[in-house]
């Protein structure tokens, strides 16, 4: 059906045709110049791009957590180092440092004046 086959009572066809052209121009000017694609395409592309990144991210996160847990366990239950004084009273086993001769390696002006 042609739109010009809808005559109205009070107007001549020419005028109506002109009106129709104006209406048509108006409404067509409102349309997007390029009809948008289905939003699915955008969503799917984004999803596909994100998926490998998400997988890598998850693996990295899992590895990091495993490392942290392992380190924590190793520190908790691993070999312990106890600072026990040696039987001869030295701070480190096998050494003879007792802190009494510290000034021996100091410059003379820095050596403490003993009473």
């Amino acid at each position: 059906m042609n739109r010009n086959t809808l005559p109205t009572m009070n107007q001549p066809p020419d005028e109506l045709g002109e009106m129709d052209r104006k209406f048509s121009a108006f409404f067509k000017a409102q349309l997007p110049q390029q009809w948008p694609h289905a939003p699915l395409a955008k969503a799917e592309v984004a999803q596909h791009r994100l998926a490998p990144r998400l997988d890598r991210g998850r693996v990295t996160l899992a590895a990091s957590v495993a490392c942290l847990l392992g380190l924590g366990l190793a520190l908790s239950y691993g070999p312990t180092f106890q600072a026990t004084p040696s039987p001869d009273g030295n701070l480190l086993p096998g050494s003879n440092a007792d802190g009494k001769n510290l000034h021996r390696h100091m410059a003379p002006e820095n050596q403490p004046k003993l009473p």
Partner: protein, 188 residues
């Protein structure tokens, strides 16, 4: 044959086919309510995103979605609802549209004089359309934006073809009279 929507590829194909078939109708209803092309496009996208989620819900998990027996009716119903909500929220936020939108002026590379006349005519048409009922605007949009036949418009809007014919005739008559009174239909 009804496509098996449990398969992702079929869902995608079905979705794109329905978008190609009905996106213009959805846009037209949103536009007729709001008289703003950009808002209509936003609403259209939102309608189809929701539709996709519904299709996803009809997949193997069969969790949340209702079964859509009539996609077109579903799309148009959601479009109307969203357009209604959108108009309310937009008016609440902004009160009205900026002046350049009130004239319905889109960027085109016309000569300045022709452009000015065109914009003036469009502003007159818009002001007349703003006073019309949404139902009339729906018919006019479908008719003049997409050149739909009366029968197609009747099918989209779910009314009798004779009713569309009558409303279209009246709407055109009213619009033509008002524009004629405003001198818009005079050739420059």
């Amino acid at each position: 044959m009804k496509p098996d929507l449990r398969k992702p590829d079929m869902r995608r194909t079905e979705f794109e086919a329905l978008y190609a078939m009905h996106s213009r109708e959805v846009w037209a209803l949103a536009y007729a309510r709001w008289m703003d092309a950009d808002s209509a496009q936003d609403i259209m996208q939102e309608v189809f995103l929701r539709f996709w989620k519904q299709l996803e819900g009809q997949g193997p998990k069969q969790t949340t979605a209702e079964t859509i027996l009539n996609p077109r009716a579903w799309l148009l119903r959601v479009a109307r609802n969203l357009a209604e909500d959108y108009s309310k929220s937009s008016f609440r936020r902004h009160g009205t549209q900026p002046p350049e939108m009130l004239g319905g002026l889109q960027g085109r590379d016309d000569q300045p004089l022709a452009k000015m006349e065109r914009e003036e005519a469009f502003a007159q048409i818009r002001s007349v359309l703003d006073e019309m009922a949404t139902a009339d605007r729906e018919i006019l949009t479908l008719r003049y934006a997409f050149d739909y036949e009366t029968t197609a418009i009747a099918e989209i809007l779910g009314v009798a073809s004779s009713a569309v014919h009558m409303r279209l005739s009246r709407a055109r008559q009213r619009l033509a009279e008002r524009l004629s009174a405003a001198g818009v239909n005079q050739e420059p």
